[in-house]
């Protein structure tokens, strides 16, 4: 069993690298305005869009204007998505006659999809009309991931540019992410998904008479078009309640394989984009290898834990898993979806063994930097790189600098904000939920597992992941509102300080190369991996001990 698992994982990683390398180079070209092989087709569309948008593509702005455009654009998104859900019952494409969404659920969902979290307090097929799924969810899946990529590209420019105020044009970065990257990939991917059995129709739900003579109503809808961008944009919000475990979202082992590759590939490509734009490809590899190392460490622990099965029952742990995915692919999917900020699930995380679940939680708690969400994952990792170089600077007694830019108090304050604000919000809300009836009455499991349900929810919200310990009934005003706040903080406390860092770095001169500490060697990789693990452990170890670790001990001493 271990050997075949090893073979699968190694093959998987090799294929991931083969896909990510050229994609990274492609993105570097797109975002520096160079010709790519799709330009002949897309460039005219791009020009046409700028004309109707009223955008001058040659005009770049400083970080303040960039951030301002980004925030206004996201605010518009929240408002539109909120209203759309409230009035869906009077709009077309609602064959099931689904009613208006309750206000707190609608607000939570609007924030959730704009923040690229896709936390879902609702069950898709029983709550959202086809029109809401398309205009709301599908469209927002595109733009929220495009915003993430725009932020990453801008952050990279902060290192690349010297002595300038301008860091880019938000509208240009947004448009290019969508039409050169996300849309073409989604078209190909959604057609592939349909060919394997993912549905794409506007039929009313099908009534079937089963062989044993019962009636079965089968939900339908435009699933493939949403599934494709849900995966590629690391969004993760399922069309159906059961998300990617639903046979209409993920019907076969082959779709499972490509879905996991799909939500890793852009995030895994961005370090290579970084290397290419910095004109230092070794640096891109160093970041990639750091991420890969963290990924493999977590995966080994999670697999080891899940392969032990459930000792109380003396059986493999197949609760909440589909036969076609089995133990291995459920764990690889779960680990990958929490390492990135995807949050799609093909197995129920609530039913994983406690140490498996702990790894998934830890992935989100460290801010999803192991590949991470499209764009923001790379930014998160580079923030850890800044912290690492600061610590190294202190140790060797030199002014800290990174990739040729001096690090000063301003950058360090902003970097620390990115790291601690989401952590604070999860711990505070987690404490609130586990000490009030409002929070506790939603639990599905008792004891330490119940605490894990709460912790997971806020880690998922603040980490902008969106997967859940779905036993927790989060569709209450208390959880809808606290999680909405957690998602907003998680998203914008990463994006805004990152853009200020980019703005500040872009204005600096470059330090001469000979005086630099090497940031592409093994020493750097080991340091950054250690910093990520230590910062995460220092913040969350106590609470993990009384959650998943205690549960693990209880299980292995059960009945004694």
């Amino acid at each position: 069993m271990y050997n075949s698992a090893l073979l699968q994982v190694v093959l998987f990683i090799i294929i991931l690298i083969i896909l990510a390398l050229p994609l990274g180079e492609y993105m570097a070209k797109v975002f520096t305005g160079q010709q790519v092989w799709l330009s002949f087709l897309i460039r005219p569309v791009e020009k046409f869009l700028y004309r109707i948008f009223g955008v001058d593509e040659t005009k770049e702005t400083d970080w303040k204007s960039y951030t301002f455009s980004l925030i206004v654009f996201n605010a518009v998104g929240i408002v539109v998505l909120f209203i759309l859900q409230l009035i869906q019952h009077i709009l077309p494409l609602n064959p099931q006659g689904l009613s208006s969404v309750r206000w707190d659920t609608a607000l939570n969902t609007a924030v959730s999809f704009v923040a690229n979290t896709n936390w879902q307090a609702y069950g898709g097929e029983s709550t959202m009309s086809y029109l809401t799924q398309m205009l709301g969810m599908t469209a927002q899946n595109f733009v929220s991931s495009a915003v993430g990529i725009a932020v990453a590209v801008t952050f990279i420019r902060g290192f690349v540019r010297k002595s300038v105020k301008e860091i880019g044009n938000f509208w240009v970065d947004l448009t290019r992410s969508i039409i050169y990257l996300l849309l073409p990939l989604s078209i190909v991917f959604s057609l592939f998904l349909v060919s394997q059995g993912v549905i794409q129709n506007f039929n009313p739900y099908t009534k079937a008479q089963t062989i044993q003579g019962q009636e079965q109503v089968i939900a339908q809808g435009p699933v493939a078009s949403q599934e494709a961008i849900k995966i590629l944009g690391t969004n993760g919000g399922g069309f159906f309640n059961a998300n990617s475990s639903h046979p209409y979202e993920n019907p076969k082992p082959i779709t499972d394989y490509f879905e996991i590759l799909g939500f890793l590939v852009i995030s895994a490509a961005l370090p290579f984009t970084f290397g290419a734009m910095l004109n230092n490809r070794k640096q891109g590899w160093a970041i990639f290898i750091s991420m890969l190392t963290l990924y493999l460490i977590g995966l080994s622990v999670a697999l080891w834990s899940e392969y032990h099965g459930n000792p109380i029952l003396g059986l493999d742990n197949m609760e909440g898993k589909e036969v076609r995915f089995g133990i291995l692919n459920s764990v690889v999917f779960g680990h990958s979806t929490t390492s990135t900020s995807c949050g799609a699930v093909n197995a129920m995380h609530d039913s994983f063994m406690p140490l498996t679940a702990m790894i998934l939680m830890f992935n989100m708690m460290i801010g999803e930097v192991v590949f991470g969400g499209v764009g923001v994952g790379l930014v998160g990792m580079l923030i850890y790189a800044i912290l690492t170089m600061f610590l190294i600077g202190l140790m060797i007694g030199r002014t800290p600098e990174i990739f040729g830019k001096k690090l000063e108090p301003f950058e360090m304050i902003m970097a620390v904000l990115v790291l601690i604000l989401p952590s604070i919000i999860q711990l505070v809300f987690g404490a609130l939920a586990s000490s009030t009836t409002l929070g506790l009455s939603s639990l599905n499991n008792a004891g330490p597992h119940g605490l894990s349900e709460i912790l997971y929810a806020f880690a998922s919200g603040a980490g902008n992941n969106g997967s859940a310990f779905a036993g927790l009934n989060a569709n209450t005003p208390f959880y809808n509102l606290t999680l909405a706040v957690a998602m907003l903080v998680g998203r914008f406390a990463t994006i805004i300080p990152s853009l200020t860092i980019a703005g500040s770095l872009a204005q600096k001169k470059s330090t001469p190369e000979i005086s630099r500490f090497p940031t592409s060697g093994p020493l750097f990789i080991i340091s950054i991996v250690a910093v990520v693990v230590v910062v995460g452990a220092l913040t969350f170890f106590p609470v993990l001990v009384i959650g998943p670790i205690l549960e693990h001990l209880e299980i292995f001493t059960y009945g004694n």
């Binding site: 073979l7 093959l11 109707i52 948008f53 009223g54 400083d62 204007s65 301002f68 455009s69 998104g77 398309m134 205009l135 733009v143 849309l183 078209i187 057609l191 349909v194 060919s195 794409q200 129709n201 099908t206 079937a208 008479q209 089963t210 062989i211 044993q212 019962q214 079965q216 089968i218 435009p222 493939a224 078009s225 309640n241 059961a242 475990s245 046979p247 209409y248 019907p251 076969k252 082959i254 499972d256 394989y257 099965g309 459930n310 742990n317 197949m318 909440g320 036969v323 076609r324 089995g326 692919n329 459920s330 093909n346 129920m348 609530d350 063994m353 406690p354 599905n444 004891g447 299980i555």
Partner: protein, 188 residues
């Protein structure tokens, strides 16, 4: 925060621009894109796009991808489902590994059956799992063969025919499609 743009006029202009761009993208990505995919899918792959439905005598009896409830002894039984195979409301039990209800459920099943597999007693993630494991099918095989007066070798052949493969031999798991298998049994 100090406003990066000078004056109220620029401020309003930026907001209007945002709304305009948002709406254009919403129409392009939320309407045009799904409709184009639907059109291509409906023309080139109508069977898959409409849910891989199985139709017998003009009536829909289910989908080959969606599990349905089988608990009669003459059929291969499907897995437990937390939503009772409600395909308009998918979902799981979300029991943790030491949830009392889960332990009770498994133990009571163990009392009546000597040999069991995990997927026989544990609910799936979607509640609509169309498969059972091959080991599970092999344990049920003698019962089904007896009920239907068929030689076990014949039933075993049908099980193999209705097993959906994994991906290139290493990814995912082969599983026995319960609905397709039971349909084949009924058609004998």
């Amino acid at each position: 925060m100090c406003l990066p743009l000078q004056g109220k006029e620029n401020f309003m202009k930026e907001i209007i621009k945002s709304i305009k761009i948002y709406l254009i993208f919403t129409v392009l990505l939320g309407l045009v894109y799904p409709l184009i995919i639907a059109a291509i899918a409906q023309i080139t792959m109508p069977y898959q796009a409409n849910g891989s439905l199985i139709i017998k005598d003009g009536r829909v009896i289910g989908s080959e991808l969606i599990g349905q409830k089988f608990d009669k002894p003459e059929y291969f039984n499907s897995r437990p489902s937390a939503v009772n195979y409600n395909a308009a409301g998918s979902g799981a039990s979300n029991y943790g590994p030491m949830n009392e209800k889960l332990i009770e459920q498994v133990n009571s099943y163990k009392k009546n059956n000597k040999k069991i597999t995990a997927d026989m007693v544990m609910a799936s993630a979607s509640g609509l799992d169309p498969h059972i494991s091959i080991e599970n099918a092999m344990l049920q095989l003698p019962r089904v063969a007896r009920q239907r007066n068929l030689p076990e070798s014949k039933v075993k052949e049908l099980v193999n025919e209705n097993t959906d493969p994994d991906f290139v031999g290493i990814w995912g798991k082969a599983g026995v499609n319960v609905l397709k298998l039971n349909l084949t049994l009924d058609s004998l």
